[in-house]
Amino acid sequence: MASLVGSRVERKEDKRFLTGKGRYTADINLANQTYAIFVRSPHARASIKKLNIDKALKSSGVVSILTGKEIADDKIGGLIAGWAIRSEDGTEMKCPGNPPLAKDNVNFVGDPVAVVIAESLAEAKEAAEKVEVDYKVLKAVTSTADAMNGDTIHEGIDKNLCFDWLLGDRQKVKEAFDKADKVISIDIINNRLIPNAMEPRACVADYNAASEEITLYTTSQNPHLSRLIMSAFGNVAPEHKLRVVAPDVGGGFGSKINVYNEDIVCSWAAKKINRAIKWVAERSESFLTDIHGRDHVTHAELAVTKDGKFLGFKNETIANLGAYARVFGTVTPTYLFGPCATGVYEIPAAYTNVKAVYTNTAPVDAYRGAGRPEATYTIERLVEKASMELGIDKTELRIKNFPTAFPFKQTLVHTVDSGDYVAGMEKAKQMADYKGFEARRKESEAKGKLRGIGVTSYFEACGIAPSAAVMSLGCGVGLWESAEVRFNPTGQVTVYTGSHSHGQSHQTTFAQIAADELGVPIENIDIVHGDTDKGTFGMGTYGSRSLAVGGIAIVNACKKIVEKGKRVTAKMLEANPEDVEFKDGEFIVSKSNKKKTIGEVAFACYLPGVRDEMKSPLPEGDEPGLKETSFYDPSNFSFPAGTHIAEVEIDPETGHVKLEKYTACDDFGRIINPMVVEGQVHGGLAQGIGQALYENAEYDETGQLMTGSYMDYTMPRADNFPEFNIGYTCTHATTNPLGVKGCGEAGAIAAPPTVMNAVIDALGGQEVTMPATAEKVWKACKNLKKSNAKAA
């Protein structure tokens, strides 16, 4: 049987998606269901003086209206930050309460204050307009850079500062800088983004009065985690009386990790009114209330010798948390950011200091890449600037500072098990025809255009992560993953995974893995996820962890099946278990060449007996059935790496940036399905290039979201991109049995600095902030013309 791992197996999920048979949360309709509309604050910061629902209650079709008061009366808990961060001075981070319905204060536009539940959606909307809220509007704090000087948003949280965190050694860095020939410094902004999953958030909550169980269908990347949080912190129901189902989910990018206000409110309210409640976000609600991403203001410095050796690195960052700290809100700008900020380089001394601030904007949390795009942008913009200031070729300068021996002990936290950064760089240069660039630049010049080339070498830490390690750093949970493999009596296999697929093709890649491990045709393998009543507890999908953690759990569970199969075969064929080998779905006794198929063994496990004989195929100590579980806790993160190269052409008259070429050469370790990986890379690149050239979430000074629809928020479209030139180098991860590394976020991590380095190269080194919109670039072109004229 040919191995399926490594081949472009067509996606099993495509048939249902392409024929409109996907079953998303909004497709679920329950008998006698009601509809919820949330009344949201139109102000960024206000106190609630009075909330009057009398008129709204009389509106037709209204079933119930609930507010922050009832939430408080019922002792329903609030939303939480899942990772405790300690400040440099040893104090714990400061987090405000975040009730699911605001009672006294609202802190961003979209903060919900009441829920209206009615017989129809139209009636719920109509009644919601009649809820009267009397706000005392307060001065909003919206700017990341100035947040610490603004009015105090949350009582008792001085300077709006959640924490002031340090990773690294300031003294050692000072010493390194003292020795430097040159210090390169940079001020950058990592622009705020809105994740924009294709499917808006939604939930349907149901209460079964007989079993006293709440079922919540919701758009989640991690249903078990949601259940845990809603039980332990939300006080909605004990875990065994709460079932969370995340059916087909149309994209998450991190925005569906969090338990949201609506999940808690609808679950709690469904029990209260003893009827099902359905809520589906409108796109404008998604813009306002989905978590946002990035939003850093950074000053960074790199100390170098004159021949280009890196000596030290400083990173001073202010990170915007938005109005509240959410699940991965505090770890994203710290442990997911700081360690990676020294990039793929050997830098003897480094530190990252992050001040995380509250503002009256939507909460900011993990968005594709989470911390690592910000880190990579910081170091790679800095290195590019160093190459300009030192006059050393940008690829040479990078290679000069690459580690060459693995495991590589990175400056701040990680020990990188494997990689070959030089090979990645060389291959990328070849793929991009780096040598031919000058000729292409001249061609562009002849047309009156400016051409630039940009490079990024990145590594990132994903596949989160070893439980003991992350919990020691403040994580509220361990980040292992579970799998359960149920071999059915008639030979098909159902694999339950704690990961969740919302676009990652698990149904296919995980089946490929199980098919190879068990020697069962892929058609006979089903991957099941997303229902707390079906599989064992799992941690879900984010941080490019599904394969490197969840996939390994599947491998391990399969291996346990095979081990049992060997014991059973030995008993059946009267051989020693040590003499039984397993290959391509068959157990073979090496000495006698007698064999049993895995199907026969499974059948025997479930029907352990024969007619007219008192005989069991099961060895002593083995129970009937064939089902194994694995909880896999990785020993390390996984460390994908690579080099990306972009080329842009700029029209100086209009400031239009055309991305001409994009080359990505990544090392993801072993690749299970190249087609799926390409899809992940393409998607990541689209979002990364989107950040560099198009996307920006903008608030005005009163805290109104200016980019609250697709008329103003530029989602990139297919015609914004060139054909992507994708290639790989492959060094297997040594820390997991498949040798795999995460691939889901690499594009979004590497693309922003790659594209911006190209834009800035074309502009003769002039800084522009992301997104490099036409007007910014046009202005820079005008300056360039002026300074060229002066020089001439």
Binding site: A122, S284, E653, Y694, T707, D712, Y713, M715, A774, E775
Partner: protein, 261 residues
């Protein structure tokens, strides 16, 4: 969206008879429906005009191209006749919004709405269009009155738009990257006697730039407008482009248009 009455008119007469101060015509619905959904507009009656046969279709004569008001953008962009007579008009239609919008949005709806960044108004000005309504004929120059404002009276229905075929023409749009409406769009048309330089997106309403028209009427070459410093005081500023940038784009897009003619 609030409840409304839906009417399907079978001819212009019925459509205008149904019209009132709380009604709107429903052509492509690409503006009307979203504004109703967002609560920005409420109507008691929507009068569907798509089934009025007379309002759809394209006729080309020696001198002009006449397009029925309910003709969809996709029909204009795909029309071989338009491509032959006024290729720039067909490419303008092809550059509106996205396929979904082009498959529903209509030329009549676009000019009746007179969005300051819509594309078609510039074509009307540049191509000396005549707007045929159920009551009269209106010259384009007198039709576009201001932001979202036209010469149409309540209940007056556009039936067709008649464009004069120019010697040469080109439309060059610098699109808003998000919506793809025009940040600035410039339609240059060279007619026998003179040149029109119609500008959309830059100000509160489409206009014919007299300065550039004059320069180009004298010498139809992009060099005659190169470096022209336009007054930006009346130009729009928003988060996508400042007035100063728009002023520069008007010249740049005009030059591109002349070069493309």
């Amino acid at each position: 969206m609030k409840d409304f009455n839906y009417h399907s008119a079978k001819d212009s007469k019925e459509a205008s008879k149904l019209a009132s101060s709380s009604s709107a015509f429903l052509a492509g619905g690409m503006t009307t429906i979203p504004s109703m959904k967002l609560g920005l507009a409420t109507y008691k009656d929507l009068i569907d005009i798509k089934n009025i046969k007379k309002l759809s279709g394209i006729k080309v004569s020696g001198k002009s191209v006449t397009i029925g008001a309910a003709t969809k953008h996709v029909e204009v962009s795909n029309s071989k006749d338009v491509k032959k007579a006024i290729p720039s008009l067909s490419s303008l239609a092809e550059g509106i919004g996205d396929p979904q919008v082009r498959n529903r949005g209509t030329i009549g709806g676009s000019i009746a709405n007179n969005d300051p960044s819509a594309d078609y108004p510039s074509a009307c000005i540049a191509l000396n269009a005549t707007i045929h309504t159920n009551e009269r004929k209106i010259e384009a120059a007198k039709f576009f009155k201001g932001m979202f404002e036209t010469a149409l009276k309540k209940g007056e229905l556009i039936e067709a738009i008649e464009f004069q075929i120019p010697e040469k023409s080109s439309y060059q749009k610098h699109p808003n990257p998000a919506s793809r409406y025009a940040i600035v769009g410039v339609y240059v048309a060279k007619h026998k006697g003179d040149v029109n330089v119609a500008v959309t997106g830059a100000k509160s309403c489409v206009y014919n730039d007299k300065e550039m028209s004059k320069a180009l009427s004298g010498n139809f070459s992009s060099s005659s407008i190169d470096g022209m410093d336009l007054d930006s005081s009346e130009m729009n500023t928003d988060m996508h482009a400042s007035a100063e940038f728009r002023a520069s784009l008007v010249v740049t897009q005009a030059k591109k248009a002349v070069d493309a003619c």
